[in-house]
């Protein structure tokens, strides 16, 4: 029998809140970039582009659009370097990237005629691990496909909140600040989205057990 507190604690254990050891380097690079050194800014890009792409890809599950959002985020960050007020550069860039991703989502919602590739990108599959049995590998691929499709079918407000909470480890308050809504709204979106997601995945429940 699962215990609520135990599950919550487990989640917190999964998402450790460790201070970014590279924060000092980031802040120094920002300072140089503010003084006009593009190379310093590009070092920042190099340090964070993988993380930001992974973050945005969860929100905009299309590689090209996710890449566009990340590029736009870095351009926006460069344009607004002077607005950086200290703290974690990683979080600052993350917020900018999330906002860029949401802009793309809103634009797509305004133009529903555009095809939404969802997560049907068959051109890429996760690399197979050598020590994993082919059957398990196939199961993992199928689970990812089904889950990604269910996530993509969620309203993007709910999807964003769930991804930021479950995957990226933001807490309710941080998500509320990023999305510009109340903490209560964030909680509601997560809880309701979680129910919708589970109901959507009920036919494929076996994929997620054991």
């Amino acid at each position: 029998m699962p215990d609520g507190q135990a599950v919550t604690d487990a989640r917190e254990a999964q998402v450790p809140r460790v201070e970014d050891p590279g924060q000092g380097i980031d802040v120094a690079l920002v300072g140089q970039a503010v003084r006009g050194e593009l190379a310093a800014f590009n070092q920042l890009v190099e340090r964070h582009q993988d993380h930001l792409f992974a973050l945005v890809y969860r929100l905009v599950p299309d590689r090209d659009q996710a890449a566009d959002a990340v590029q736009e985020a870095f351009l926006s960050a460069y344009r607004n370097l002077a607005s950086f007020r200290g703290g974690s550069v990683k979080s600052w860039l993350g917020r900018i990237a999330i906002n860029a991703a949401m802009d793309i989502q809103r634009a797509r919602r305004r133009r529903p005629s555009q095809p939404y590739p969802e997560l049907e990108d068959e051109s890429w599959q996760p690399p197979a691990e050598s020590d994993v049995e082919p059957e398990h590998q196939a199961l993992a691929v199928e689970r990812s496909r089904v889950l990604a499709a269910a996530l993509a079918a969620l309203p993007f407000d709910q999807r964003n909140c769930i991804v930021l909470y479950d995957v990226d480890g933001y807490d309710y308050g941080e998500i509320a600040r990023i999305m510009g809504v109340s903490v209560g709204t964030v909680k509601s979106r997560i809880h309701r989205g979680r129910l919708v997601l589970r109901n959507a995945l009920t036919p494929s429940r076996e994929l997620f057990r054991g």
């Binding site: 029998m1 699962p2 599950v7 930001l52 344009r79 890429w124 996760p126 589970r198 995945l201 997620f208």
Partner: protein
């Protein structure tokens, strides 16, 4: 564990989702845990939350398709911040503020406009003068002197000035149909004072005056007109037109015009804040 699908329909699934998210108080926690313990469906649901969250976090991420480093050209492009468009672009975050301003301006304009139509007499109708006087010159453009008298002296205490002021309000509100027919009676005295066209004096001297006047002030205000002095006997008691500006101090009849203009300005500014950042973005090719 008892599986009770029949009663599961009555169970609060959202409570379990809140429990998973750590968003329950003590009493709710107890209720949720009791629900899980007593219902197999609820137990499965709660377990699925954990499995799905774990699987979500483990979703594979494809390799990034390109490098996101900025080129010199990128830096030069985004560095252009001096144009007017970029100023509006910088205000992009204020779109919501712009929308609020536009709404406030629109509401203000409608409110001020509504006041001019529905407001009763007294000081409220004083504030309504500008709007009715805006309309009046259209019908009687050749009577600037009287317009000014009626408008600028539309005060609270002046017997002579209240009547000409109230008349336009009444005619604007409900007398257009009766205006032309009642014009002849009302203009008898008015034409003695000024060479107003019949239509103009008819509008201003509408028979709707008595009904539009509030009790008390109406009788007083109608005095000059009723006793044959005419509504436009104002010039005999009012200051010269050239000095009318001074009479509007404190309770100036331009207050509503000013408010109208201010709200309109707020609305237009809000519209700019709302639309210009988008235009700037489009120009930038986003």
């Amino acid at each position: 564990m008892p599986r009770t699908p029949a009663t599961h329909a009555t169970h609060d699934e959202l409570l379990l989702a809140r429990l998973y998210g750590g968003d329950v108080d003590e009493s709710e926690r107890g209720r949720a845990l009791n629900q899980i313990a007593s219902c197999g469906e609820c137990s499965d649901l709660f377990a699925d939350f954990g499995a799905i969250a774990t699987a979500t976090a483990a979703l594979p991420i494809p390799p990034r398709p390109r490098d996101f480093k900025l080129t010199e050209a990128d830096a030069a492009r985004v560095g252009r911040r001096s144009s007017v468009w970029s100023i509006f672009d910088r205000l992009g975050r204020t779109r919501a503020f712009g929308g609020a301003m536009m709404t406030a301006g629109l509401v203000g304009v409608v409110f001020v406009g509504a006041l001019s139509v529905f407001a009763p007499g007294g000081s409220a109708s004083t504030a309504g003068a500008p709007l009715t006087n805006v309309a009046a010159p259209v019908a009687g453009a050749s009577s600037p002197g009287h317009e000014l008298n009626g408008q600028k002296n539309g005060g609270d205490t002046s017997v002579a000035t209240t009547a000409p002021y109230q008349v336009p309000v009444a005619s604007a509100a409900g007398a257009p149909a009766s205006g032309p027919t009642s014009a002849s009676a009302a203009t008898a005295a008015a034409t003695d004072q000024a060479p107003l066209p019949a239509a103009t004096t008819g509008d201003r001297g509408s028979a709707a005056v008595p009904t539009a006047q509030p009790a008390g002030s109406g009788e007083t205000a109608l005095g000059p007109a009723a006793d044959g002095q005419g509504a436009y006997g104002v010039p005999t008691t009012a200051p010269p037109v050239g000095s009318l500006g001074g009479t509007s101090t404190g309770n100036g009849p331009d207050a509503r015009q000013v408010a109208f203009a201010a709200f309109a300005g707020i609305g237009i500014l809000g519209l700019l804040l709302l639309t210009m950042p988008r235009l700037a973005s489009r120009r930038r090719g986003r």
